[in-house]
């Protein structure tokens, strides 16, 4: 069964790129454009194999989203990857603190993305 991944980013270009790369590898993806919408997806979906989320987003940011997601029993242990930029070292810690499994540093290419996704979702 295809693994299901939720991709949250307010940039459609990045969201779609990530989705595209993952779909090419046989993953099923769901997109959300901010943390609030992401929580909406969690409410409707039974379980996920991985969540990839950006940090800086309107409405509900990535860190807030992770905290809320970890409160939901179905997503207590779901691997979560945070998209950060090199300049956001503190965000990595903040993300880990909130319950993220790991992070992906922008910019990244398909190879790097897939390597990290495999690492945490397989």
């Amino acid at each position: 069964m295809a693994k299901k991944i939720l991709v949250i980013d307010d940039s459609a270009a990045i969201r779609q790129s990530i989705s595209f790369i993952l779909q090419q590898e046989g993953y099923e993806t769901i997109e959300a454009q901010d943390g609030q919408e992401g929580l909406g997806v969690l409410a409707g979906v039974g379980a996920l194999d991985l969540i990839i989320t950006d940090v800086n987003m309107p409405n509900l940011d990535g860190i807030g989203f992770i905290r809320k997601a970890r409160e939901l029993p179905a997503f207590k242990f779901t691997p979560i990857l945070v998209l950060t930029t090199e300049s956001q070292g503190t965000k990595m810690n903040e993300g880990k603190e909130a319950g993220a499994t790991g992070w992906i540093v922008k910019p990244f290419n398909a190879e790097k993305l897939l390597a990290i996704v495999k690492k945490v979702a397989e």
């Binding site: 307010d10 940039s11 459609a12 270009a13 990045i14 779609q16 790129s17 595209f20 790369i21 090419q24 950006d54 800086n56 987003m57 309107p58 207590k76 242990f77 779901t78 691997p79 979560i80 998209l83 930029t85 090199e86 300049s87 880990k96 319950g99 993220a100 499994t101 790991g102 992070w103 922008k106 910019p107 990244f108 290419n109 398909a110 790097k112 690492k119 945490v120 397989e122």
Partner: protein, 717 residues
């Protein structure tokens, strides 16, 4: 990143810059509104992140500094004023300008630097000296947007480094599961890097009633022998936070002289479990160290078991090194060994010939034994140059992966026979043709996912790459389950290209071989992938150059199979030895189709036309006597050797066919480089030199002459 989303990125960036402008203007009237400031920061941040993803490095670099300034305002370090708003609006305009170029002109980059300079000056004025120091690191002047130094920083450590042995002690934090980390996956990732002995500690596990099933009670000692560097090992634990304990230390290099591996005591000391003094006092008692330490409760039996595992691992590595030790030899020494063996092979052929001529049974028996030994010696020598072909398979996996992504197809590459060995040089020269064949299958063979679904085929296409031995050859097959070749389309194209004539009766199989003809391509749409029809003919030429042959089979709708038959080695070839006017020539046996006798009168009768019929085909021929300007008349009965050249047959008229001959190819000296039709030379048992014919080149010459003659005749008529 992915080009197809570039336009989305540009639209989005422009939209964000539009919003940013609005936000900045509002901010100018309400400079303390933190939500507005956040909004501006977010817009800048998103532009930065996505521009770096899509390769707009100048944008991301510039935006980074502006973002830093905004961040400092957001943190309340700096108060927003009109100058700042003005600057940021200009920065916004500049970004919009930069987005028009993937490689912005110098002039524009200088303007950007100027804006950033103003930012720095402004921050220095407003925020005081401290602000400057902690501000965005001012890059060295004129450094511009140099390539990113990141990426692959760890990969250098891998390469062809000597294997080293590491001790990894991993004590996960009890709450490690809580963020979704899968510990067993981490261990498996580590183990996959090399040869590992893994010892899990489970003694900390409490009883069923007392345990919290969501906490981790296990820890690991792992001894790993790998070529991967320390960074690669640490990278595996990159997401493991500080509460977990991780110690990685190098305990041995492959080449280290750890006589009979390490002593148990040393291992305990190195692991920090026992002090050297304790070890010393136990050893003085002449008791078994492990048992004694457990009795004295210095270490647990579990620790002993783990240390013993390390000892065993080191011993195993050491033994392997002793047993399967290898030595490096300069490749020219190997070449000269191959040469010598080749000469022995040749000499042996001579010996066996002499023995049979003399009908000397004693000599004949020696010759036979000699032949067996030499054939073993030859096989052994050749095997030294042999490498498994699997080493190149990975490259093909990559080709398939990248290309299917590019073409939007789903393709799986299956491989078989990776362990099949081939001469090193042959493997190197096979790589390009194979890439080409695989690309061709992927591009023209495998259908799009939609089409496959429609046809009821499994959506992922399959390309199978297999290699196996078959006598003195290796058969390499690339097959796909795509749509196969369209015989009719090939026929049409063949006629268009003048490769066949209208109405010519050809079997499908014969038609398929046409795709190897120069300049042939059936792709209706020329893609960037398979090039412009400079495909399969190049493959054919390369394979011919290796003394091999290409064969293609196809079933409409079910896919096609390309088979390459490659000789195991380049250094020794099987040839047909022939004689012309006292000189010897070798024709590679792989291209010989047959021999026919021809009487001198018949030959003379054919006269200028120099074409004869062979298996219902008109074959042009050339007299080697004439071609190499040999003196004298041919014998009353000559032989024509028919050989298969690139795309047609060609006959060579020789005086005498002597027989099969194993020959060692010697490169020709500079003097002979310019001699047309000769690819190399070999020395016969009695010391005479035989020249090796370049069948393809000779065929071209003959074809050309034949065309010229035909043209001349039609001109006369």
């Amino acid at each position: 990143m992915i080009d197809k989303f570039k336009s989305t990125f540009l639209e989005e960036a422009n939209e964000l810059l539009g919003q940013l402008e609005e936000t900045l203007l509002e901010l100018e009237t309400m400079p303390t509104d933190s939500e507005l400031l956040n909004k501006a920061f977010r817009a800048m941040h998103t532009v930065k992140g996505s521009s770096s993803m899509f390769g707009y490095d100048a944008v991301s670099k510039f935006t980074h500094e502006v973002e830093t300034a905004l961040d400092r305002c957001r943190n309340g370090e700096i108060l927003i004023d009109r100058i700042f708003i003005g600057l940021t609006l200009r920065a916004r305009d500049h970004i919009r300008g930069l987005l028009d170029f993937e490689n912005p002109p110098e002039e524009l980059l200088r303007q950007g630097e100027a804006i950033l300079g103003e930012y720095r000056a402004w921050m220095a004025n407003i925020g005081g000296g401290k602000a400057v120091a902690s501000g965005p690191a001012p890059k060295g002047e004129g450094e511009g947007s140099k390539a990113r130094p990141r990426e692959g920083a760890n990969s250098e450590a891998q390469g062809e480094a000597e294997p080293m042995t590491w001790r990894i002690m991993f004590r996960p934090a009890p709450e490690i599961f809580k963020d979704g980390t899968k510990v067993l996956t981490l261990i498996a990732e580590l183990v996959a890097l090399g040869e590992a002995s893994v010892y899990p500690h489970i003694e900390a596990l409490p009883g069923l009633a007392a345990m919290d099933p969501e906490l981790c009670y296990c820890s690991w000692d792992i001894i790993l022998t790998t070529r991967a560097g320390e960074n690669a090992l640490r990278d595996i634990f990159i997401f493991v936070e500080n509460r977990s304990e991780l110690q990685i230390s190098r305990i041995a290099k492959q080449g280290d002289e750890f006589a009979n591996a390490k002593r148990l005591g040393e291992i305990f000391i190195e692991r920090g479990l026992v002090s050297a003094a304790t070890i010393g006092s136990v050893l003085e008692g002449h008791k078994r160290l492990g048992e004694t330490l457990v009795e004295q409760k210095v270490v647990s039996s579990d620790e002993v078991a783990s240390a013993l595992l390390e000892q065993e691992h080191l011993k195993k590595i050491q033994e392997r090194k002793d047993v399967a030790g290898s030595i490096r030899v300069a490749s020219d020494k190997l070449d000269s060994l191959v040469d010598l063996v080749g000469e022995l092979v040749t000499l042996q052929a001579r010996l066996s010939q002499t023995a049979s001529e003399r009908q000397d049974s004693a000599l004949g028996s020696i010759s036979e034994q000699f032949e067996r030994l030499i054939s073993q010696l030859r096989d052994n020598t050749m095997s030294i140059r042999m490498l498994p072909i699997g080493s190149t398979f990975n490259k093909f996996r990559r080709v398939v992966r990248d290309l299917s992504l590019e073409l939007g197809k789903e393709v799986e590459l299956q491989t078989e026979g990776a362990e099949t060995e081939l001469d090193k040089t042959v493997i190197e020269r096979l790589s390009d043709p194979l890439v080409h064949i695989i690309r061709n299958s992927l591009d023209h063979g495998i259908e799009s996912p939609d089409l496959r679904r429609e046809k009821g085929k499994p959506v992922p296409g399959v390309i199978r790459l297999s290699a196996r031995h078959s006598g003195a050859y290796v058969l390499i097959q690339v097959s796909d389950d795509g749509k196969g070749l369209d015989a009719e389309a090939i026929r049409q194209k063949g006629i268009e290209r003048g490769l066949i004539v209208q109405g010519q009766e050809l079997s499908d199989n014969e038609l398929f071989q046409l795709i190897f003809a120069p300049g042939f391509s059936t792709a209706r749409v020329i893609t960037t992938v398979s090039g412009r029809g400079v495909g399969m003919d190049v493959v054919r030429r390369e394979i011919d150059g290796l003394g091999g042959s290409v064969h293609l089979e196809s079933a409409a709708g079910a896919g096609m199979t390309v088979t390459l038959k490659i000789p195991l080695t380049l250094a020794i070839i099987e040839g047909l030895l022939v004689k012309v006017a006292g000189d010897f020539y070798v024709i590679p046996l792989s291209s010989v189709d047959g021999c026919i006798e021809i009487a001198k009168e018949d030959l003379d009768q054919l006269g200028e036309r120099r074409i004869f019929s062979f298996r219902n085909e008109f074959v042009p021929f050339v007299s080697l006597r004439r071609f190499f300007d040999s003196v004298g008349q041919g014998p009353s009965i000559s032989q024509i050797v028919i050989a298969q050249a690139l795309d047609s047959r060609v006959g060579f008229v020789v005086d005498q066919v002597i027989g099969d001959y194993q020959t060692v190819i010697k490169p020709l000296g500079r003097m002979f480089k310019s001699v047309e039709g000769i690819s190399g030379a070999t020395i016969l048992g009695d010391g005479t030199v035989a020249l090796i014919l370049d069948v393809n080149r000779l065929s071209q010459v003959v074809q050309h002459e034949s065309k010229v003659r035909t043209a001349a005749r039609s001109g006369v008529a």
